[in-house]
């Protein structure tokens, strides 16, 4: 079993962290994982994305041209990555910032008002966690208890106070797509 994710959005939306948490969760659950960011000065103010591969077997290419799942947190990301989703794959759209419908009908597209939910939770910076929750709910790629463990690992000590908020965001994201 191998799943390939591309997570994309604006520079400040925390897409790299989202991807790292996903990879971390996969690793903690005994899978092979790789995380690869886009990088460079053009990130400044622009868009960022990362590719995560989670697999039962040794990972060949960390570069992916047909991801099984794409999270698009803004419109440019949707435009760029929608065409790449593997037929039958999953496309998670941050409908708070994207006002168009998906164009493909051979994939499963899910609209998630991630920024609005985050803003309801009092901090739009947890948009990425809302999306992560939804993703995990939709794919079952990791357990929620693993995500809690991951949060402890990726957040520096002095930020641990933020863990409850992040967990809440993850849960809200999950709930949203359960419905």
């Amino acid at each position: 079993m191998k799943q390939e994710f591309i997570i994309a959005g604006f520079g400040g939306q925390g897409v790299l962290l989202l991807g790292q948490m996903l990879a971390y969760a996969g690793m903690l659950e005994g899978k092979q994982v790789s995380w690869m960011p886009s990088y460079g000065p053009e990130m400044r103010g622009g868009t960022a994305n990362c590719t995560v591969v989670i697999s039962d077997e040794e990972i060949g290419s960390p570069v992916v041209s047909q991801p099984s799942c794409v999270i698009a947190l803004n419109l440019p990301s949707l435009d760029k990555f929608e065409p790449m989703v593997k037929p039958g794959g999953l496309l998670l759209i941050n409908s708070s910032l994207v006002d168009r419908e998906p164009r493909r009908d051979d994939i499963k597209a899910v609209a998630l008002p991630a920024t609005e939910i985050a803003s309801e939770l009092g901090n739009i910076r947890v948009t990425n966690m809302v999306a992560l929750g939804a993703l995990v709910q939709l794919t079952g790629i990791a357990s929620f208890s693993t995500l809690e463990e991951v949060l402890k690992k990726v957040l520096p000590e002095h930020r641990h106070s933020l863990i409850p908020l992040n967990l809440q965001a993850i849960q809200r994201g999950a709930q949203e797509v359960k419905a």
Binding site: M27, M36, Y39, G40, G60, P62, S65
Partner: protein
């Protein structure tokens, strides 16, 4: 961190591995896509009571390496393509003076300022000597973050053992990507360095030098170096194979490209083509023998690189006309997809295997 798996960036993994390997000093100048390495060591080296120094330039950094290596310390520098070009004089001096050290090149697209995306277009520079004179670096090409750790540790040992600079040739993706790594417990090899300049207390004076005004002496020194390189070529070749035993199309690729090619080999096999992969881990010494042998069984070879075609010359030299050697390359920071490489394998198979 011991024993446990951690998710790390390739650049940082090299940093941590260097610390485990007993690297006492690190000198470098920032450049994308390897800046996480100096940044990591800026924090970690002082924690360990060791030296991190940001040099005023790549040239200063490589010459600081020369000085520190001359005292017998384990020492490292890192950069990316344009910065490595600036180090060429210094590298030639280090090779000439036979000083052990580790040099990391996290390659980006060139030539010139080029771009900052991953590339493998510094292969010639690394393996044939971008600096002047007949010298060789030992060149190690990791293909995963774990291998960045393992080969960094190996690099320090080989450097000391052969009194030779060792280059770790990575690329932007390997430097930036995260994978789980494990740091195993080990004792760094300790090789006595009676030649080091540490103050002459209790012995004759030592001189670190690459100058031989008398050409007979310089020639002698050069034959000594060549003999050393031959010994390295005999003993230190490393490579990996994947489904190569019965391969009719043998793909040769290193580093990140080999990872992509591995997936492509699986794809080709799924289409019924007997593809296989040979991945050089040491670029110098190059696995010439292994490729020559593997070529015997194959109908054709396909070299894939993130360049316009550099390693392919060494593959051709290895195969020596016995089999056709094809090339597929992407440049400037573009990465081939597994599908793309698979298509090339199919093409080669169509040309050669079908007959």
């Amino acid at each position: 961190m011991l024993g446990e798996k951690v998710l790390m960036k390739g650049n940082e993994a090299i940093g941590e591995a260097a610390i485990r390997a007993g690297c006492q000093l690190y000198f470098a100048y920032p450049i994308t896509p390897q800046s996480e390495l100096p940044q990591y060591l800026a924090r970690r080296m002082p924690e360990e009571g060791r030296v991190f120094l940001q040099a005023e330039s790549e040239i200063a950094a490589i010459n600081m390496v020369y000085g520190a290596a001359g005292t017998g310390a384990r020492v490292m520098t890192s950069s990316s393509s344009p910065g490595i070009s600036l180090k060429q004089e210094g590298i030639s001096y280090i090779a000439g003076a036979e000083l052990p050290c580790v040099i990391v090149n996290i390659v980006r697209g060139g030539p010139g300022l080029g771009g900052i995306q991953p590339a493998q277009s510094d292969y010639f520079q690394a393996t044939k000597g971008g600096g002047h004179g007949d010298y060789r670096l030992i060149v190690l090409a990791p293909a995963s973050v774990q291998e960045m750790v393992d080969l960094t540790i190996l690099a320090f040992d080989l450097a000391d053992q052969y009194r030779n600079p060792v280059m770790i040739l990575g690329d932007g993706v390997l430097g930036q990507m995260m994978e789980p790594v494990e740091f195993k417990d080990f004792e760094p090899v300790k090789i006595p360095k009676p030649w080091a300049t540490t103050g002459r207390k209790g012995r004759e004076k030592n001189i670190i030098n690459s100058l031989y005004l008398d050409p007979t002496k310089l020639e002698e020194h050069n034959w000594h170096l060549q003999a050393k390189y031959r010994e390295i070529a005999e003993k230190e070749v490393r490579y990996d194979t994947y489904r190569s035993e019965d391969a009719e199309v043998l793909v040769v690729a290193y580093g990140i490209t080999a990872r992509i090619a591995r997936t492509a080999v699986d794809m080709a096999r799924a289409q019924g083509i007997a593809a296989g992969l040979l991945r050089p881990i040491t670029l110098f010494p190059f696995p010439t023998e292994a490729i020559a042998q593997a070529a015997e069984g194959a109908k054709a070879l396909l070299t894939v690189e993130l360049s316009a075609g550099q390693m392919v010359e060494d593959v051709r030299l290895a195969v020596n006309g016995k089999r056709p050697v094809y090339f597929y390359g992407r440049t400037g920071g573009m990465m081939p997809t597994p599908e793309e490489i698979c298509r090339e394998i199919v093409k080669v198979a169509g040309k050669e295997v079908a007959e």
